[in-house]
């Protein structure tokens, strides 16, 4: 669970918000000429990153307004909240050292911590 700082109402529990998925996907304007592949890209394909992710939220049980948020999907750290139509701000995040590794703290996945090649001799991480 996390607490989200709504730009209009302040800090509220996650359960007050509804999720709008990946941000900054706009419907293509030239839709008549689009191929099926381009449609599939717009409708279905998603970035789904392990790391910094721009997403939309709606404060459904509050001001009922939409806003954007940057969150680290590897740790659930909320990095920035910004308005609809705005560009995501620059942020720093506690990212995994390897593509599918775990962040230093906060991932909750203690069975599969990052293994550096140099650490492999002592058995790597893990509980």
């Amino acid at each position: 669970m996390f607490v989200i700082k709504c730009p209009n109402c302040g800090e509220r529990d996650l359960s007050e918000f509804s999720y709008g998925g990946e941000a900054h996907i706009s419907r293509p304007e030239w839709r008549d000429e689009m191929s099926d592949t381009e449609w599939a890209e717009f409708v279905f394909m998603r970035t789904n990153p392990k790391g910094v992710f721009a997403e939309r939220w709606n404060h459904a049980a509050g001001c009922r307004r939409w806003f954007n948020m940057l969150r680290n999907t590897a740790t659930d750290d909320i990095l920035a909240v910004y308005g609809m139509g705005e560009e995501p701000p620059e942020v720093t995040a506690n990212l995994p050292a390897t593509p599918s590794g775990e962040a230093a703290i906060g991932s909750g996945n203690d069975e599969a911590k990052v293994i550096d090649a140099g650490d492999a001799a002592d058995g790597g991480g893990g509980a």
Binding site: D36, R46, R71, A74, T98, N109, G126
Partner: protein, 417 residues
């Protein structure tokens, strides 16, 4: 591989238990090259490796696992087995899996504690009852065992359920798949690992794939935290990290990774004779052989790789559960955990070749992957070995998101994904 049997148990008991060997070999380092590399040592990955070795003679292969085998979703699911899906494509693959489950313990020479105790899917209103009856008929046409139970039959089959007409969403009937049930997830993982290892498959734990090497659109190997491995075929079975792995070869997928939570109560004497699921109030429960009530429901709505979810999701499912099974209100919960599931927009999996030659994807199983484990591994091994999908795997290509031939099990499956 030493076989497990009663004679051996007695012999070891009389000779100080000194003759046992590890269930699977753990090579210190991967070999420099393999005929195929399976990324992901969960149930589906190990099953894929096992069937590659057993049915396709590909024994020079490796399973690469970044943690311990079975430490991801294979160790976090609620082990429910059923195949009562609405559409022909889904019925084919899940029933294929169910057929394999039936003989798997014997085949692997490992007790997977398979229990065909029956799966109930409850109906709470007329509309849902009609939809579930339609699914029963569709199941029967596909050779999936299914039947409709009237309220008195539901109560007889599952005595602890609250059938009072006064509850907020009264139970007005249910579908039953008698061949459905539960098994033991760790045993399945260990059984597959042991059998695959016995056929020559290398199982490399604590080794993370950091890069997939390609040349002119063809896979040439993988880079890992324990060095590079040359291989012409990479089979990606990484569930939560499917998008992350696909990204290594520049491929975008329609999957999103969500937390999915489950919880267990303190152990009690046998009270729950079957698996009972409700789509409308959205909760399900069974009882493990240890006596714990195993409880689950749906995903958290947001994307996350953290393997933990939110309390409001649990609160919602416990409220539903308490109304359906009032006796649970005085039980304490022992453990609660999350896994990360990769969900496809149509709630059906991806078992597919990709535009990168030699890179195969098996993922997008969402919340319902466990029940498919043997079937998934079986048809995926076939795809990896022959480079062509068989009739069961064919509908689950990535291309369906371009062609529009979705297998839209969202809502059509017995429990909402």
């Amino acid at each position: 591989m030493n076989r497990y049997n009663a004679f051996r148990l007695i012999r070891e008991g009389l000779t100080g238990q000194k003759g046992w060997e590890p269930a699977w070999r753990s090579p210190a380092e991967p070999r420099p090259s393999y005929d195929a590399v399976v990324i992901g040592g969960g149930g589906h990955g190990l099953a894929t490796a096992y069937y590659l070795a057993k049915e396709h003679g590909m024994t020079n292969i490796a399973v690469i696992e970044k943690g311990w085998i079975g430490s991801g979703n294979a160790g976090r699911n609620t082990t429910i087995i059923r195949s009562n899906y609405l559409y022909d494509e889904s019925a084919a693959i899940y029933n294929h899996a169910l057929d394999l489950w039936k003989g798997l313990g014997r085949e692997l020479n490992f007790n997977i504690m398979m229990s065909h105790r029956g799966v109930l899917n409850l109906a709470h209103d007329e509309g849902e009852a009609r939809q579930l009856k339609r699914r029963v008929e569709a199941n029967r046409l596909n050779g999936v065992d299914a039947e409709w139970l009237e309220p008195d039959e539901v109560k007889k089959f599952c005595p602890p359920i609250n059938m009072a007409p006064s509850i907020r969403y009264p139970v007005i009937g249910a579908t039953l798949q008698r061949s459905g049930g539960t098994n033991r997830h760790d045993a399945v993982v260990w059984g597959y690992a042991r059998a695959a290892s016995g056929l020559g498959v290398d199982i490399i734990e604590q080794c993370e794939v950091t890069e997939i090497l390609t040349e002119k659109g063809t896979v040439t190997g993988v880079q890992t935290t324990r060095g590079a491995i040359n291989t012409p075929k990479v089979a990606c079975v990484t569930a939560a990290h499917t998008s992350v792995m696909a990204n290594m070869v520049g491929l975008r997928l329609p999957v999103e990774s969500h937390p999915l939570q489950a919880l267990v109560s303190e152990p009690v004497k046998p009270v729950m004779p079957c698996v009972c699921m409700s789509n409308a109030v959205h909760v399900y429960m069974s009882q493990s052989d240890k006596g714990e009530l195993v409880i689950g429901a749906g995903i958290d709505p947001y994307l996350s790789y953290t393997q933990r979810g939110s309390m409001d999701i649990i609160e919602h499912q416990m409220a539903s559960l308490k109304e359906l099974f009032p006796f649970v209100s005085r039980l304490r919960l022992m453990r609660q955990w999350g896994g990360t599931v990769d969900v496809c927009p149509d709630a059906s999996p991806i078992i597919s070749k990709t535009p990168v030659d030699g890179f195969y994807v098996n993922g997008g199983w969402g919340t319902g992957g466990w029940k498919a484990t043997p079937g998934s591994g079986h048809v995926f091994a076939d795809l990896v070995a022959r480079d062509e999908p068989n009739a069961i795997a064919a509908p689950f290509t990535i291309d369906r998101f371009v062609s529009g031939a979705l297998v839209a099990e969202h809502g059509a499956a017995a429990v909402a994904h």
